[in-house]
């Protein structure tokens, strides 16, 4: 029974790896000039660092000229690592490989924990984005599916009337603007919830207290993402469920006298779940950008805030690193979504087409 799923995972993994290669190649070509600038400036920055080290450790033994030679060789070898002395096709493949292995050089000004290395900086911010975005997405999918199912059960005209409202909210309400309003309304005026950052200043002591404190800081960001995304997702689930309701096996189940809720959750939901998963995947890609901007307003130290700071500081290497990393993260998210799809769709699980 699991043979089919194994094959499914392998084919999907290959397909997604190819997608990754293609996306990264397109990104690479679109940002080719910028990447060359980033690499040369990184070489220059590392050269300065290297020279200072040489002066500190063996400044007495070496002449300035010797040091200059050493620094130049060092810079040349760094550039060679990025294929600068190679013909163009090889340079392309070397640099695309560097991007795939998250090697983005040195930031201009942004520092994280004393490091100016772009991958270290991004690795510092990324977990916070993943924490916030994954939590929000899981809550959205869970509540959205539940609302969608219940709404389908009581399908009537009242739902159809609020569809335009849901659509307006979904397609035009900026989550980051809503964030402003929530901050102004619930944060400052009523002082109910924390509005800035992910931990109070000073941070509480004890692991549990820290977790609770972070959780408290997540409420408003998640709320703004939920308000924007929930209605649209629930509506899609509802339509999928309604279209499944008319199928023969549902009538059969009813004829057998099974309780309505059992039919809804066991039969209809099971059947509609692969399609729901597809919609969830689309919802993930659609809400990602909004989530990044929401971080900025809440001062949540994730990739979105880092992007904003990098734009402000004109820090090109960081910006380049972010676009590659977010693409990879998004693809991993989509891949996980596909695997869930495979798990839910019995046709795939047993390996028949």
């Amino acid at each position: 029974m699991w043979m089919g799923f194994g094959r499914f995972v392998v084919t999907k993994a290959i397909s997604y790896f190819l997608v990754l290669l293609a996306t990264v190649s397109i990104l690479y070509l679109a940002t080719y000039n910028v990447i060359q600038k980033v690499v040369t400036s990184s070489a220059a920055a590392l050269g300065v660092e290297y020279r200072q080290n040489l002066l500190k450790t063996s400044g007495a033994h070496l002449t300035t000229q010797q040091i200059q030679v050493l620094v130049t060789t060092f810079q040349q070898s760094y550039l060679a690592q990025f294929g600068f002395n190679q013909p163009l096709p090889i340079k392309f493949s070397i640099q695309i490989y560097k991007m795939l292995t998250l090697n983005f050089g040195q930031a201009y000004t942004i520092i994280w924990n004393g490091s100016k290395s772009v991958n270290v900086i991004i690795a510092g911010y990324l977990p916070n984005t993943i924490l916030l975005f994954t939590t929000a997405t899981l809550i959205l999918i869970a509540i959205g599916t539940l609302i969608g199912l219940l709404a389908a059960k009581s399908a009537g005209t009242s739902w159809d009337r609020i569809v335009p409202i849901i659509a307006v909210v979904h397609s035009s309400l900026p989550a980051w603007w809503l964030a402003f309003l929530l901050i102004a309304g619930l944060g400052y005026d009523l002082n109910l919830l924390p509005t800035q950052g992910m931990m109070s200043v000073p941070p509480p002591t004890g692991a549990l207290a820290v977790d609770l404190n972070v959780g408290e800081h997540m409420i408003l960001p998640i709320l703004s993402l939920l308000i924007v995304g929930l209605g649209g997702f629930a509506y899609v689930v509802r339509s999928l469920v309604i279209s499944t309701m008319g199928e023969d096996f549902v009538l059969t189940a009813r004829a057998r006298g099974l309780p309505e809720s059992r039919i809804l959750f066991k039969h209809i939901f099971r059947t509609a779940s692969p399609a729901i998963t597809t919609q969830a995947i689309l919802a993930i890609t659609g809400s990602f950008g909004g989530a990044l901007l929401t971080e900025i307003v809440f001062n949540w130290p994730g990739i979105g805030l880092l992007t904003y700071n990098a734009i402000f500081a004109n820090d090109l290497p960081v910006v380049v690193g972010i676009v590659f990393v977010t693409t990879i993260i998004l693809l991993v998210g989509l891949f996980i979504g596909e695997l869930v799809y495979g798990l839910l769709d019995p046709r795939i699980r047993v390996g028949s087409d």
């Binding site: 397909s15 190819l18 997608v19 990754l20 293609a22 996306t23 397109i26 990104l27 679109a30 940002t31 000039n33 910028v34 569809v163 335009p164 659509a167 307006v168 397609s171 035009s172 309400l173 900026p174 980051w176 603007w177 809503l178 402003f180 309003l181 901050i183 102004a184 400052y188 689309l282 890609t285 659609g286 990602f288 950008g289 909004g290 990044l292 901007l293 900025i296 307003v297 992007t307 904003y308 734009i311 402000f312 090109l316 910006v319 380049v320 972010i322 676009v323 977010t326 693409t327 998004l330 693809l331 989509l334």
Partner: protein, 461 residues
């Protein structure tokens, strides 16, 4: 087929007018269109430069809430713009010399219980004026004489200026016999608006009619233009002002044409690419379909915002480039929808018949798919406009976009940077965001109505 589309078109409009939500959409859309035309016609073409130029906004109050909050029980002082344009000329002979005296006067009613923020006088003329005398008559009689020596045309004399503080000091001296120097702006304002008590500052301004007469004296004839006298209140217009005195309503009006332009262009380009691509993918089927779906996935996986941020570092964005890049990254959503339409049309009997007769695939696609897909294209283009606007405004919020363009996202960015939410400048945050939402409503209403009308047609034989 062709006869069906010919018959179909007028009934689509008719059906649209039957739907209440579509009618609401059309009404709101007309208002937006009217505002867009008004914006293009009434705003000067260099408005985006003026917007950045602090000098241009000195006669506006700073961080002022909208004027109408007065009616909600928050007393505010309104901003009153008075213009002096009807100049009468008089020639005065004094010995051998002839002087020209130009005078104009105006009145205004003050009923607010709150003092205004500032007072500004901006004379406009060409020629050499030797002095300007401004006589300020308060409702209960006493008048203040403001004399401007060596006046400059276009210069704004504010309450803090020597001109006004001197006049206030002189007035206080005349009335009370006390000589007070170094008056604050607040004290100057109270001298001009308040009842003169022993401590100068009174609790509330005098309400009633104020009369202002301006006399310009010159030794040679001059041309007098529309001069301004502004009572700068602590509230302004429909939507208040920001921390650089700029009226929010003006910014929103200036941002409307480009928002709609970007939204519409992004939507139509993305939808057309997506529908053709997805429709073809569904129709061709098999391995070609698999490959095309894979290509769509590649594009879908690229995060729009970070990608455009990095693009903005490689080249200066203009509206056209921004539109092309956003559209190039957002068409896969429509391709997914169109593919299912393509699949459903493909299984119809007439397609099978054409295929059996050996009609080439592109002709089958053109005659059976395009007409069905074009209805979907209209619906999704309308529905996709808000998404395009939202993306562009979101980018503007993080400072990415064509330079020197006034955008709602850009206004929200300055609000964010200046912590408008913290200081309670709600008008600076609420209205730009509301514009983004409001501009979406007509398209969503219309798009849904069109979709509902064409849905049976698309699936019909």
């Amino acid at each position: 087929m062709t006869s069906q589309t010919k018959k179909g078109k007028p009934s689509l409009l008719k059906e649209l007018f039957k739907s209440k939500s579509a009618l609401t959409g059309i009404v709101i859309l007309s208002v937006l269109a009217g505002l867009t035309i008004y914006s293009v016609v009434s705003l000067p073409s260099n408005i985006s430069y003026t917007w950045q130029n602090g000098e241009a906004w000195v006669l506006y109050p700073i961080d002022a809430p909208p004027q109408w909050i007065n009616f909600l029980g928050f007393p505010t002082a309104p901003t009153i713009n008075l213009s002096l344009s009807q100049w009468t000329k008089e020639t005065i002979s004094a010995g051998a010399a002839n002087f020209s005296e130009y005078s104009a006067s105006t009145t205004f009613k003050w009923s607010s219980g709150v003092f205004p923020q500032d007072l500004a006088f901006e004379p406009m003329f060409s020629g050499n004026a030797s002095t300007i005398a401004l006589t300020w008559v308060k409702p209960q009689g006493p008048s203040i004489l403001v004399s401007v020596s060596e006046p400059a045309s276009g210069e704004a004399y504010e309450a803090q200026s020597q001109t006004f503080t001197n006049a206030a000091s002189q007035y206080i001296l005349n009335q009370t016999g006390q000589y007070v120097t170094q008056l604050s702006k607040q004290q100057v304002i109270s001298a001009f608006f308040g009842k003169l008590a022993n401590d100068i500052l009174t609790s509330s301004p005098l309400s009633g009619t104020y009369q202002v007469t301006v006399q310009v004296l010159s030794s040679s004839p001059m041309n007098m233009f529309r001069s301004l006298l502004v009572v700068v209140g602590n509230s302004y217009g429909l939507m208040g002002t920001d921390n650089q005195d700029r009226p929010i309503d003006l910014g929103l009006l200036a941002g409307l044409p480009n928002a709609l332009e970007i939204g519409f262009l992004v939507s139509i380009i993305a939808v057309v690419i997506g529908i053709v691509f997805g429709g073809l993918s569904g129709y061709l089927g098999g391995k070609k379909d698999g490959l095309m779906q894979w290509v769509a996935l590649v594009i879908l996986a690229m995060p729009v915002l970070p990608f455009l941020v990095v693009i903005s570092f490689t080249q200066k964005l203009n509206i056209f480039l921004e539109v092309v890049f956003i559209a190039a990254l957002s068409w896969p959503f429509y391709a997914i929808i169109a593919r299912t339409v393509g699949l459903s049309v493909k299984s119809q009997a007439f397609v099978e018949a054409d295929k059996a007769m050996g009609v080439p695939w592109y002709r089958v696609f053109a005659s059976h798919f395009i007409p069905r897909l074009s209805a979907v294209t209209v619906a999704y283009t309308v529905l996709g406009i808000p998404g395009g606007i939202l993306t562009a405004e979101s980018l503007a919020f993080i400072g990415i976009g064509p330079g020197n363009l006034i955008t709602w996202g850009g206004i929200l960015d300055t609000a964010f940077v200046n912590q408008a939410a913290v200081f309670g400048f709600w008008w600076w945050v609420v209205f730009p965001g509301l514009m983004i939402v409001l501009s979406a409503i007509p398209f969503v209403l219309l798009g849904f109505a069109i979709e509902r009308i064409i849905a049976p047609r698309v699936s019909a034989k």
